[in-house]
Symmetry: C2
Subunit: 172 residues, 2 copies
């Protein structure tokens, strides 16, 4: 996923940041679109430094432990520009992990299957509700929210279809 690197570069363009700050921001403000774990973040930052896209420097505030501050380089800026343009044009098909169990739906009675899929649907609907009650976000993040919303609605409609066909089979 090159887009993860794009993300770090994009964030560092506005201001130099330290690791904790980057991780916080990603977990808090970008939870809609990605979930980069802390060790992954450091791994990627190190890789990007090795490549010359960013630099690290040490900083100490008061008695807090030393921390590394990351800063984008001109090379990094060039990389950002080109990756941004490339990835903006791309459509990458997504696989849905939860599709796989459906391949074996026959192994369950329609009754049992319905019960499980209802549980699944409840989780989906509660996700959907959270989304619908999320206040409007600033800037372009709003577009991701709407993306997610549409996606969840499509999921719900599809699950309903599956469930209603299962019910039909049950009645036969």
């Amino acid at each position: 996923m090159t887009t993860r690197e794009l993300l770090f570069l994009g964030l560092l363009r506005h201001q130099k940041m330290h690791g904790y700050q980057l991780n916080e921001f990603i977990q808090q403000d970008l939870a809609v679109c990605t979930d980069i774990k802390k060790p992954t973040a450091y791994y990627l930052l190190n890789k990007m430094e090795a490549r010359g896209w960013i630099t690290q420097s040490s900083e100490q505030i008061g008695n807090r432990p030393l921390r590394r501050v990351y800063q984008i380089t001109p090379t990094g800026e060039i990389a950002f520009q080109s990756m941004l343009r490339e990835s903006m044009q791309e459509y990458t098909p997504t696989y849905f992990e939860d599709d796989i169990p459906l391949a074996f739906l026959d192994e369950l009675t329609t009754d049992e299957a319905s019960t499980y899929l209802e549980t699944r649907k409840e989780q989906l609907l509660s996700e959907l509700e959270i989304m619908q009650n999320t206040p409007v976000h600033p800037g372009t993040v709003q577009w991701m929210l709407e993306h997610r919303l549409r996606h969840l609605q499509a999921e719900a409609a599809w699950l309903d279809e599956v469930l209603s066909r299962l019910t039909l089979m049950e009645e036969e």
Copy 2:
């Protein structure tokens, strides 16, 4: 992704298969829902053998190279049953990699952005067309196709929305 293991178990329940056969089937018939690379397949099969879920035996047909035939064990069957039920109830939220570049849409002129997103849309639409012309598949795979179809339609609608708002901004 535990569902990958579920998939292998589910396939081996019907008949013992060798590695090549498993890989072929996944690439040809299950391309809608997953893309497991060959080395990953062997890796997972070995892991599952170590765990006692499947057994390997060697087989030779004519002069062809020796090959390993995988077969599910009773322990594997139990694992399959429990994983199937668990995963059937689960809804796992999906992240869309292509959302990330949108966070930096401001960095481009609306004109440039539109051009790129139009390219993206074309790719999406050609995917959609392929889906719509795919003949009805047998069994439960059909449900995955419909899932994908709905998802692609939602994507297209969302992209249209983004594009039309961009155009509005351009006119101001």
